[in-house]
Symmetry: none
DNA sequence: TATGAATGAGGCTTCATTCAT
DNA sequence: AATGAATGAAGCCTCATTCAT
């Protein structure tokens, strides 16, 4: 399903599902993706707890029970939605971290990419930040750990740049790190795909603001 | 600082409730405040939906039914908790806005105060930002409206300072506003009262970072 | 008119409570009577189940718990109200039955008296007819038995009069009996003390209608 | 479901519900009707307030939660039961009123039909008269308004007949109206389907009694 | 593939009642 | 004579989930 979500869905379309046999497209997987997308949108709009399986079914033209043909539990549904987002996050983060750009360049790249990613996956990113509490403790831990990894890295970059004299010595790297994530991750709350600025432009603004705040004049 | 809260409660104690008869402290109101505080902490720890009235009662040494001697509904309980925070917010915001300091001074003052406020009322601020969805539509509207008011004001301050040449012309005031609120309001997620830095110090860091990012060099 | 009822109370005032000692009026009994009257009115207006002890207390300027200083249970309260009415009913019924008037005269007397009684004790009679189900099985039985006794008597009177040729032979005495009670006992539903006709006039109308319907022309 | 309800149910069977697909009888609707009938009987026997959803479920071989597969709330359940009765009432009333029979003929027809209707729908009529207080204010209003309409019509008929000299001038039409409804509507309290007389016979008795009471000799 | 019927656990809330003060 | 705090039982209702068809 390359596309055409119901009007309210601000997320970018997921890539089409894999096909089992070339001749016969796997309809099940396609429908499954549809279930995920619909649920994601509804969770985004009303919250996870407030969305019932009955409602999800209705939105899909299915009865409550039929939804379980595609999912194994409501929590799994949420997890899968969040996991997709999470996975993407990991991907670009690993790439950036592995690069040999100077630390502030990495930071710039992370801010830009993460802002764009958040903005292009509004509903999923929103769920990632607001509904993780409804996941099982173990799954929460996975997510928290990954976030911590990102924070550690950013902290390390800033610390490194500071040691190298590129970042103001009078700033606390840890607080700066929190500030950056607070700023970037807030995008899901107010970004509108049809707004005045694109995700890229917003990323650039963030970089300007933060980096010129950090940098030694 | 009359009251010893259970260890987990990071919020500053509320001032004692009004007394009905001057000589004899109003026990009821005190207990009621205890209920609010306990519930606030539990909502903070597990989330509003995940906290049952049975659990709240148990934590207070009451049966679930008995909790209703002090509250009228679970949602009202949440609202009251959030409203206290909300009210305080309004108070200092109005004071700052009414002052005749230059716009960037107002901004500095707001960032500092709001950061401190968030940090000193960790659980309540947390609920304010994460559980407002569990409130009735009307109550949600109240909160959203107030937040919008703050954002409008900050936007106006930045715009004004920019027009006066005090803020870089290449930055978008609106994005800057969002960035500031994202930063400041993220404090409830990571601030720890027993941490290395005080709320005031964090506020100062934020100001440094943001203002030197905004200001024309 | 010894007692000042709240405006809505259509029942005739109960006689003042007995005094324990001539010099010191028994305040408790008086207050108790007030509780009965207030409860009776509220049960009448909202129904027994729908009236809470909290509300009864509030109406009396008391707290929930304090009401129990005067009553032993909510059901007892209802029973006592209904019992007063019941007792009166028994009194005049016994008097009529014991008289040596001819059967149709007794019938006339019963219709008149019962209509008047119903009308003068609107709330209590209403409860007698509508809320008896909330009483304990045993108490229900008492009431049902008494009503049956009245019906038996009326049936006997009509049968006797019919045997004597005073009542039409083509009418079924049992149905006539039911009809009469249905008619008379419906008064609590529509009688208004400030209406066009007095209770006595209504009683007379009933007699006219029924007796001329029954009597051989 | 043409029949054979559990022994205690004195109401006539409802006509079968509409079918969704012509070939396959709609089981759901049938079961739903069963729920209504069972609940009606239980409300009749113990009263609405005294009947719990748990009990209704048990009687149907269901858990309390499962009952809600067929109903939306306990009050809705009551309303639907009462509404069916109400609807029937309206139907025959409109027919009679629209006829061009002379007023006393209409009266006779109404008494007969209403008595029969009450008797053939004992439980529902009973609920109609005794449990309407448990309905929402708006629903109460609907019912009260309809009853008032019937009373107005009967009052008009009697008044008309009286003006034409067919009814005794010394009787008050309004009281006569109340008397008639009191009489007819009391049937649910004592009618037994297996009794000595049929509903039709009882209706005839009522007519005899009332009309010969009303008519000028 | 999807339905329909039911489960079962649990949630929020209400309320008559008690009892020490 | 009345209060305030709490109890405890029960009530209505919701919902994720299952499973035979």
């Amino acid at each position: 399903m390359t596309s055409a979500e119901s009007a309210g869905e601000p997320d970018a379309p997921r890539p089409p599902a894999r096909r089992r046999s070339p001749g016969r497209p796997d309809r099940r997987a396609a429908r499954r993706e549809q279930v995920l997308d619909t649920a994601a949108r509804m969770f985004f709009e009303r919250g996870y707890e407030a969305t019932t399986t009955t409602e999800i079914g209705a939105e899909l033209g299915l009865l409550k029970g039929s939804v379980y043909y595609y999912i194994s539990s409501k929590e799994d549904l949420l997890y899968e939605i969040v996991e997709q987002y999470h996975r993407d996050t990991r991907t670009y983060f690993d790439r950036i971290e592995a690069s040999d750009a100077p630390p502030l360049e990495k930071l710039r790249e992370l801010i830009t990419t993460e802002t764009a990613h958040t903005a292009t996956n509004l509903t999923r990113s929103s769920l990632f930040y607001t509904e993780w509490r409804s996941l099982s403790p173990e799954r929460q831990r996975t997510i928290v750990a990954e976030r911590a990894r990102h924070e550690q890295a950013v902290l390390a970059w800033i610390t490194e740049a500071r040691a190298a004299g590129a970042v103001r010595a009078d700033l606390d790297p840890k607080i700066a790190t929190y500030a950056i994530f607070g700023m970037v991750n807030s995008a899901y709350r107010w970004f509108r795909p049809d707004g005045r600025l694109t995700a890229e432009e917003i990323g650039r603004e963030f970089c300007e603001l933060v980096l010129s705040g950090l940098e030694v004049r």
